[in-house]
Symmetry: C2
Subunit: 514 residues, 2 copies
C-alpha cells in the first residue's frame, strides 16, 4: 500500500476517528487515501485556525486525539495560534503537515520554509517521515508522544513518502496512563490538611476539574476545612447540580491576591502556580500573598484525580457527603443587554448536558458567575490567550459530541479572527448556537488603556480599540457562511432567539447587541 494509506490505517487502528483539514497539493496523497482507507472522517475548514482550534475542542471532549491536515509551513503557521491554546490546554492531537517531495526540498520552491522552527514552539514532538515504509511507524511515534505528553505532536510528511508504494501499517502504541503521584507526597499533603497550620486552598486545574475531581476535592475540604478554587481559564470544567460550585481565580493579579488572602497554603492539584496573565508595573509575576506557601499534590502531568481519591482516603473524607452548595437562580433578563444578562439568558435556556465554549473575553467572566444556576454542562475556555479559539473549538466539540448542544459565548473581536468556522458548522450540520457579545470594541484593550493611566485616549489610541466604524453585521456574516441568524437587543429578544435556536437543528448565530 501507499505510505499515505499505511499512515491512515495506523491512525484508524489507533482509534483516531476525525481529521480536520485544509489540504493543498502536497497533501493530495492523503486526500486520496481517505477514500481508500475508510475510518477517519475528514472535516474541511476554510482556514487553518479553524482546523487546529476544532481539533483542540474535539480532543477536550473525547480525550481522543484528532488529526489535522495542513499545507506546508504557511498553512501550518495559520494554525499556530490555536495550537498555542491547545498546548496550554494539554490537548493531544496529531498535526500532519504535507511537505514537498523529499527530492524537491533542496530546490527551495516558493512554499518551502523551515517548518520545524515554526512547529517546535507549539508541539511537544516534531518529526519527519523518512520513507514510505517507515511513515506509519513515524505516525505511531507521534501518536505515542501526543498521548504521553498531552501536547500536540507534529509529523512532517513528504509528499513522495505518501504517494509511493511500500507502506506498512505500524503497531499501535497503547495509551499511556498519567503518572501516579507518590504516596509520600499524598501523605505530606494529608498531614498539612490535618495539622493546624492555617487555612488551605486546593487549586484545581486540568483534568482535576472533572465531576469526580471537584466532588472529591469538595469532600476533602468539607472534612479538613479550607476551600476548593479553580484555575483561571480551565481547558474543561464540569458543572451541574451534583457538583459543588467552586470559585475561580480572577484575571487581574490584584484580584488574584485578594482571592488568596487568608490562606496559609495553596495546594496545586493539576494546576500551575497562579501567574499574572501580563506583567503590570508594581505587580509581581506570581500574585501570591507573602505568607502563602505553595505545595503540590499533583502536577499538570500527573493523575490528579487518583491523587485526590488517595488524599480523600488519607484524610478520612472518602465517605463524607459531597457538600451541597446553594444553587443560584438566574433572573430572566429584560430590556437592554449586558454581559450578565446575556449569560443569564444562556443559563435559562441551555439544554441539559450542553457544552459551553466561552470566549467572551471582556464579557467572559459573566458566564461562570452564574453557571451554577445552569443545568449540567461542560465549559471550555481559552487556555492560552490566543484569541479566535471559540468558534473553532465549538465546531470541534460539536463534531465530538453530536448528541449534545454546543453554545458558544463569544466576544466579537475574537470572533472576527476565525469567523470562517461558521461554514464548517453549516456544512456538517452541527448543533452550535453562537451568541456574539457585540460590543463593537476591543473591551479588554480599553480596560488596559485605563489601567495604564490613559483616562482619555487620543484619537489614534481610541481608533485601535474601536470596532464601531463600521460595526460588523454578524447576521449578514452568518448568512454569508450559510448559518441562520438573528439579532437581539433586549433580554426578551435574546431569550426568544435562544429558544428558537435550541429548538431547531443545525447551527445558529445570535448577535447580542451590547
Amino acid at each position: 500500500m501507499k505510505g499515505s494509506e499505511s499512515l491512515l490505517a495506523t491512525a484508524t487502528a489507533a482509534g483516531v476517528q476525525v481529521c480536520f483539514a485544509n489540504p493543498g497539493t502536497t497533501e493530495i496523497p492523503l486526500v486520496e487515501a481517505f477514500d481508500q482507507v475508510p475510518g477517519v472522517r475528514a472535516v474541511l475548514a476554510l482556514s487553518e485556525g479553524v482546523v487546529t482550534g476544532a481539533a483542540d475542542g474535539y480532543a477536550r471532549m473525547t480525550g481522543v486525539p484528532a488529526m489535522t491536515l495542513l499545507h506546508l509551513g504557511p498553512g501550518f503557521a495559520n494554525g499556530i495560534a490555536n495550537l498555542h491554546n491547545a498546548r496550554r490546554a494539554r490537548t493531544p492531537m496529531i498535526n500532519i503537515i504535507g511537505e514537498h517531495a523529499s527530492w524537491h526540498q533542496p530546490a527551495d520552491a516558493p512554499l518551502a520554509s523551515d517548518i520545524e522552527s515554526l512547529a517546535r514552539p507549539v508541539s511537544g514532538w516534531v518529526g519527519r517521515t523518512t520513507s514510505p515504509a517507515s511513515a506509519a511507524g513515524e505516525f505511531a511515534e507521534a501518536y505515542r508522544a501526543t498521548l504521553g505528553q498531552r501536547l500536540p505532536a507534529t509529523l512532517i510528511a513528504a509528499a513522495d513518502h505518501m504517494w509511493s508504494q511500500g507502506g506498512e501499517p505500524a503497531a499501535v502504541p497503547a495509551a499511556s496512563a498519567r503518572p501516579a503521584v507518590d504516596d509520600q507526597q499524598i501523605a505530606a499533603i494529608a498531614k498539612l490538611l490535618a495539622g493546624g497550620s492555617g487555612r488551605t486552598a486546593l487549586l484545581l486545574g486540568g483534568h482535576a476539574l472533572s465531576a469526580e475531581g471537584i466532588r472529591t476535592a469538595a469532600r476533602i475540604v468539607a472534612t479538613t476545612g479550607g476551600e476548593v478554587l479553580v484555575e483561571r481559564s480551565p481547558a474543561r470544567i464540569e458543572r451541574g447540580p451534583g457538583i459543588p460550585a467552586v470559585r475561580s481565580l480572577p484575571y487581574f493579579p490584584e484580584d488574584v491576591l485578594r482571592s488568596l488572602e487568608g490562606f496559609s497554603h495553596l495546594v496545586l492539584v493539576g494546576a500551575r502556580t497562579p501567574v499574572a496573565f501580563f506583567g503590570y508595573r508594581g505587580m509581581p509575576s506570581f500574585p501570591l500573598p507573602n505568607d502563602l506557601k505553595v505545595r503540590t499534590l499533583a502536577d499538570t502531568d500527573q493523575d490528579a484525580v487518583e491523587a485526590l481519591r488517595a488524599l480523600a482516603d488519607a484524610t478520612g473524607s472518602a465517605a463524607a457527603e459531597v457538600p451541597s452548595t446553594e444553587r443560584p437562580q438566574a433572573q430572566a433578563p429584560a430590556g437592554p443587554l449586558t454581559a450578565a444578562s446575556i449569560a443569564a439568558a444562556i443559563v435559562l435556556t441551555q439544554p441539559e448536558h450542553a457544552i459551553v465554549v466561552n470566549e467572551g473575553i471582556s464579557s467572559g467572566a459573566a458566564y461562570p458567575a452564574i453557571a451554577a444556576a445552569a443545568p449540567p454542562h461542560t465549559e471550555l475556555t481559552n487556555t492560552g490567550g490566543a484569541i479566535g479559539m471559540g468558534m473553532p473549538a465549538a465546531t470541534g466539540a460539536a463534531v465530538a459530541c453530536p448528541d449534545r448542544a454546543v453554545i458558544n459565548f463569544q466576544a466579537d473581536g475574537s470572533a472576527a479572527y476565525t469567523v470562517q468556522a461558521l461554514w464548517t458548522q453549516a456544512r456538517e450540520g452541527l448543533d452550535v448556537t453562537t451568541v456574539i457579545c457585540a460590543n463593537s470594541r476591543y473591551g479588554i484593550l480599553e480596560a488596559e488603556l485605563r489601567r495604564a493611566g490613559v483616562a482619555e485616549p487620543g484619537a489614534a489610541a481610541a481608533s485601535m480599540t474601536s470596532l464601531a466604524e463600521p460595526s460588523m453585521d454578524w447576521t449578514a456574516m452568518a448568512s454569508g457562511f450559510g448559518v441562520p441568524s438573528s439579532r437581539a437587543a433586549t433580554g426578551e429578544e435574546l431569550l426568544a432567539a435562544l429558544r428558537k435556536a435550541h429548538a431547531e437543528p443545525g447551527p445558529h448565530l445570535i448577535e447580542a447587541v451590547l
Copy 2:
C-alpha cells in the same frame, strides 16, 4: 521620553508613515505613543494575516517599509503566511511584536512562547529590545536590516522597555543601494548575446519588472535577438502601452519546459532559476531543457535595472527603439462567466494606473493573458504561494496609493482566508474593487487530483475540494464587514457592476459567479 515614543520618533524620522496593527495588552505603550508622537498612521485590521499582507502590498507600491504591530507569539503567528509571501517578494517591513515585560518573561505566562523560533523562518533579521534607552537604536538596526536585505525584519519589544522613561531617538540609517553588478559579468553576458551561441532568453524578475527594466530588456533583445520572459508570480510588474508585452513562465513544470524549448541560454535578471512549484513524479525540480545553460546577469539582490542599462550600452542597444508589441483587444464578455471573461471585463473597465492584485489561483492566469489590452497598470501577485494575500495586499496598496484605483482579482477559496480585510477597506474608505471568482471549489486541488491520476475522486476526496455545500454568499459577507456589494452571473452584469464600482468612492465587492 518613553521607550515607545523614542521608537516611533525614530520610525518617523526614517520615513515610516504607516503601521498596520492588531495590538493587544503588551502593545498598549505603543498604542498610547501613536498620539504622543504623531507621524505614523496606525491602521487597524481584524486579524494579523491582514496586517502583514497589507504591509507587503504597501511596500511593494511605495518601496518604503511599513511597520506592523503584532501581539506576542500567537498574534505574530497569524501573520506568518503573508510574511512568507513578503519574504519571497523581497519586501521590506518592520514587525514590532509586543512581548511580556522583561521581568515577567521567565514566569511563562499563558501567552508566552518562543517568538524567535516563529519569527526566523520569515524574517531576515530578528532582534529584541534590551532597555528603554536602547530600543530606538534597536529599531534603527531593524530598519537598516530590512532595507539592506529587502526582507521583513522583526523586533521583539518588551512592554517595560516601551512604557518606561529613558528612551532616546536614534540616528536613522541611510537607505542602502542595491549592490551593483560587476562589469565583467555584464561584459560576459554581452559577449554571450553577441556570439552566435544560439537563442537567449532574458528572464526578468523582482524589480527588473519596472517599466524601465522591461523596456531596456526589450531593446536589448530587439538588437541581439532572443526573447524577454517574466518570472512566474512577480511581486510587481508594470504594464501599459509604452511597455512591450512579455511572456510569463507558466505554472506546471511540463509547461515551463515547453516554454523554454529552443533557447540555448537563459539569463537571469533579478530572477531565480525557474523551480517547479511542487515536485511531481517524473518531473525535475528545475524544469529546464537539458541543453539550456543558465547564466546570471543580476541576482535577486543586485541592481538589475542598472545592469540592464549597462548591458544595453555594451550591446549597442541603448539607443534602439523600444519594440512595439501588438496590443490585443479585449472582447466585451456576454453570457455566463468564465475566468477569461471576468479578466476581459476587468481590463475593459479598469481606470488608468490601476493596481491589480491578482490572487486568482485557478482563474489567475486569465488576467495576465489579456492584461496587455488594459490601460497602464501595476500587477501584484502571490509570490510565495501562501493563500490569503490578495485582499490584504489590495488593502495595503490602496493605503499606499490613495489616488489609484485598486482591483483585486480574487479566488474564492483564498479570499475565505483573510476576508476580514474588507473591514479595513470599509473603515479607511479605500478604493478597492474586489472581484471574487466564485467557482465554489478549490479548483487547483481538483486539477492536482487529476494530475495524480484520480479521474473520479471518491466522496471523501471530493468533499475536500468542494466549497459548494453551502456555497458562500460573498455579497452577504461584504455587507457583514460594511462593504457595498453586488453579484454578477453574466458578462453584461459584470461590466455594469465594475463600472458602478469604479464610479463610486470607497470599496466594493462583486461576486462573479462561475
